[in-house]
Symmetry: C2
Subunit: 253 residues, 2 copies
């Protein structure tokens, strides 16, 4: 769980959900993971609104969040970036960023230039295709978040966010059994769920009281994932994990 030893495999592992990569694809992928590494502390900004797009970011370890502000300071996290996630491969089409990306925990990323990206994908159409799949999944997640924010109750919403994060971490190989690191604060969870920190605290306690989650030492334990999914009205369809007849493993490898 986040020990860093197999860091360069998170992206490959995830993309192989979608397609079988050749050794050349895997090497290209590995090269991307080794682009300039950069570390951040929790709450540091990675990208700021108004910036000209400069890098594609690959998350190697820790959690980041994409967020937007209202003029009076209210803030919404509109997506999580977890290990193996890639930030906006098409970003260079835009002139400037319309949002922030910030570290939600200690964070390690690879900064990928436009040139690095083109080098990696130019002769690897399968890799490029897999990266497009990943982008489409990211926008499917974005849509699901609209459903989450617009229709689910507080309890459903928090349960749903936890299920989604857990499954995504599992796909990246960052879970052990039904446990995973849970490095983010309730404040961040509140900003992502459109609730107040006070109510997130209540809600997590309600989930714990029902035996649906256990947290200690920044580690999350989910005794019965099916039960939590039911509480969050969660189904994994929108993550499109079963593309070539593969299905979600009930355990990680």
């Amino acid at each position: 769980m986040g020990d860093g030893i197999t860091v360069s495999n998170v992206l490959i592992r995830k993309l192989e959900r979608y397609t079988r990569l050749s050794q050349v694809d895997r090497d290209a992928c590995h090269a991307l993971s080794c682009s300039r590494p950069r570390h951040y502390r929790a709450k540091e900004d990675v990208v700021r609104e108004g910036d000209r797009p400069e890098f594609i970011y690959l998350i190697l370890d820790g959690w980041a969040g994409r967020y937007k502000y209202l003029p009076d300071g209210r803030r919404q996290i509109v997506s999580f970036f977890l290990p193996g996630d890639i930030c906006d491969i098409n970003i260079f089409v835009l002139r400037e960023m319309d949002h922030f990306v910030g570290a939600l925990s200690r964070l390690k990323v690879a900064q990928i230039t436009r040139g690095d990206f083109e080098t990696a994908t130019l002769d690897n159409p399968r890799l490029l295709q897999a990266l497009y799949w990943d982008t489409l999944v990211a926008t499917a997640i974005q849509r699901e978040w609209a459903l989450n924010l617009g229709q689910r109750s507080a309890l459903e919403r928090v349960a749903h966010l936890i299920c989604e994060a857990f499954i995504r971490l599992r796909v990246a190989g960052r879970t052990v059994g039904n446990r995973c690191d849970w490095p983010i604060t309730q404040i961040a969870l509140a900003e992502a769920s459109g609730l107040t920190p006070v109510h997130v605290s209540r809600t997590l306690q309600a989930l714990a009281a029902q035996g649906l989650i256990e947290m200690e030492n920044r580690t999350l334990h989910i005794p019965d994932l099916d039960a939590l999914m039911q509480a969050g009205l969660f189904t994994a369809h929108y993550l499109h994990l079963d593309h070539e007849g593969r299905h979600i493993d009930s355990n990680e490898g």
Copy 2:
């Protein structure tokens, strides 16, 4: 406003926000607009969850919505499709649809096959680039909706939705001065804003009472757009309309 005479220009007009298209690009674009036309009544489904992606849809007239259900029937509209909008140019990467698309008013679309699309873009990299820009703007809108649903109050939220729709319609050339067709029901507005129809009714009346909107005969009139924008905490940055030094016209051409 929706008279259909210049229907084939909505897409061209919008894309020229981003780049100057050559005559060849425009012709290709026009060809796309002329792909198999199809009409729907309000509330008919265009695409159903679980479908294999078959067409790319170009909206020619009327409004459509992308929506998702919870198992108990709660429903969220996660995006609007307005004239000139294109539905998911990359859709063929996915195996099946994870959501519905339905008509929110009488609707006219062009059904574009994978082959049609490839023909149109193969030798027109500028057109393809412009379509990618449009896709990125669509996902930027999706993020803004998360902010809308998560942080804005009911009044701000409805005002914001109205501003966004109006500006998008203006870009497509579907406004006259500060008026536009407003063919959708308060029920649809409620499903898009995560509110109840009852509260949307109250909220629209509050906006009208403040002189921010006027509606009659399915026509919307915005006496003072700046004031409405302020009420909705709306800024157009996320629509990325100013790509090559262009800016939002204060009136349509």
